[in-house]
Amino acid sequence: MTADMRKSLLLHGGVLLGLLALQYVLPAYHHGNLARVMVLASYAMGYNLLFGYTGLLSLGHALFFAAGLYGTGLAISQFGVSAGVALAVGVLFGTLVGIVIGALALRTEGVAFMIVTLMFAQAGYLTILYFGQYTRGDEGFVIALADRNISGWDLSDPSVRYFAAFIVFSAALLMCLTVVKSRFGKVLIAIRENEERARMLGYNVDRFKLAAIGLSASLAALSGAAYGVLFGYVGASFASVQYSILPLLWVLLGGAGTVLGPLVGTLFMFYLIDLSSGITTAYMLIAGVVLVFLTLFAPQGLMGELRRRAIRWLP
């Protein structure tokens, strides 16, 4: 193990330990917030695998998040399966949707890829509204408290919920670290840096990109599925374009192509909106000004700047 790998292990282990410890000291309000942030940060991590490491900018990730969310929610509400099984159904469904949409969208590149993914996500959003008799359309539906437990663990209980969110986040973090350090991850970065060169070294670039989309979609679906069972609400707003833009924003703020960037970006954005909305109703104005300054002074995102200026070994 190299010195950089040891440092990386210590840092990420420390972050996980810190998050675990926080649940015992945080007040109830922030406790709930952090659980939500960890689930959404897992979504952003999946997005980062595709955008930050592979260089593919998708504007349709809300579809994969919603596929996980609805896959889980509908499995419970329509078929009466247990939360554990429903979670697996949601993840599998979201991954499958990701691979199918990915295979179609990868026939394009650049701006066309963005537009095609956006269009598929919009089609997904409209599909949810169209089948309103099952999905309850715009209004969405609530997963009954009684259905939100896995092996006797009540997921609506704040402590259990926090711990479950922590497990989801840990799984996403470990997956990202493993991918980034693996041969597969190196090829993804090579594709981001220079697709043609990667092809000229003998890599089937299209297959690698599709695998990246599948992996990214599976993390988005896991977050969506976890969000459903942990917070009990399944709504069409999660399939809207806003939820495709948000992970992009979180990743850009935290640092694209850094493993911890998505967590930092999600946390920062969540509390920026939370705090500024406590000051004024025009909170988006404050958020906007902060974001402009951040873009000016940390164009590579918070963790990206940290890597550039101080911690060069940051994965």
Binding site: D4, R183, K186, V187, I189, A190, R192, E193, N194, E196, R197, A198, R199, M200, L201, G202, Y203, N204, V205, G257
Partner: protein, 231 residues
């Protein structure tokens, strides 16, 4: 070894190469010589499958490469060092070499071999590629292609814009490749490099091969060579 037979290719409907034919042999350096716009880089791209052929074919030891997807061409043993290096700037020297090595699952020994040819890369092993000097980047681009253990190495103006000491290192490495039995196809504009390195020269003009020269013919007819160089 590497044979082009009646290759015609271009960009879209604009034809650049017209029935180009030549053969590069193992353990020899074949220089592709021609003025700017003659079709040197286009020839190399056509070999790599980056351009669809309008006619003809490219074969390596009898295997037809031109019918394969582009990413299969390197797997058959053709290493390509493009003009302008085109490294993976965000990856370290070690990671760049690994990406080159892992295509065919080559062992780590090949990295040691590259580092013995370019000791400078060993000093920069954990440094990101975009922080290297131009010469070091060229060494890395060559090293990455060598990680494939290629049978044929295509070098597109590898010494362009480099300082003399770096040029020497690149030329020495090119000779070493040849001596290891690799067929080297070198696109070159510098007369001194061609005279020093080439075993054969193929003269390209307006996308056509206007003739070939052996090493002895280069010395006998230097004017013929010089007339195909420059802008």
């Amino acid at each position: 070894m590497l044979r082009l037979e009646g290759v015609s290719a271009g960009y879209g409907r604009a034809q650049v190469l017209r029935e180009v034919s030549f053969e590069a042999q193992a353990g020899e350096i074949l220089c592709l010589v021609g003025r700017n716009g003659a079709g040197k880089t286009t020839t190399v791209k056509a070999i790599m499958g980056l351009l669809p052929l309008m006619a003809g074919n490219v074969t390596l030891e009898g295997t037809v490469l031109s019918s394969l997807p582009a990413h299969f061409v390197p797997r058959h043993g053709i290493g390509y060092v493009p003009q302008g290096r085109r490294l993976f700037g965000g990856l370290t020297v070690a990671e760049n070499l690994d990406v080159g090595r892992l295509t065919n699952g080559k062992d780590r020994l090949v990295v040691e071999e590259v580092l013995s040819i370019f000791p400078r890369l060993a000093e920069r092993f954990r440094q990101r590629a975009n922080t290297l000097s131009g010469g070091e980047q060229q060494m890395l681009a060559m090293g990455r292609a060598m990680c494939l253990r290629p049978k044929v190495l295509l070098l597109d103006e590898p010494t362009e814009g480099l300082q003399p000491s770096m040029i020497t290192a690149i030329r020495d490495a090119t000779i070493r490749m040849r001596d290891q039995g690799i067929a080297v196809v070198l696109v070159e504009q510098r007369l001194d490099a061609i005279v020093e390195l080439a075993d054969h020269v193929a003269l390209l003009e307006n996308g056509q091969i206007r003739g070939t020269l052996t090493r002895s013919e280069m010395a006998t007819y230097p004017q013929k060579l010089a007339s195909h160089l420059g802008v």
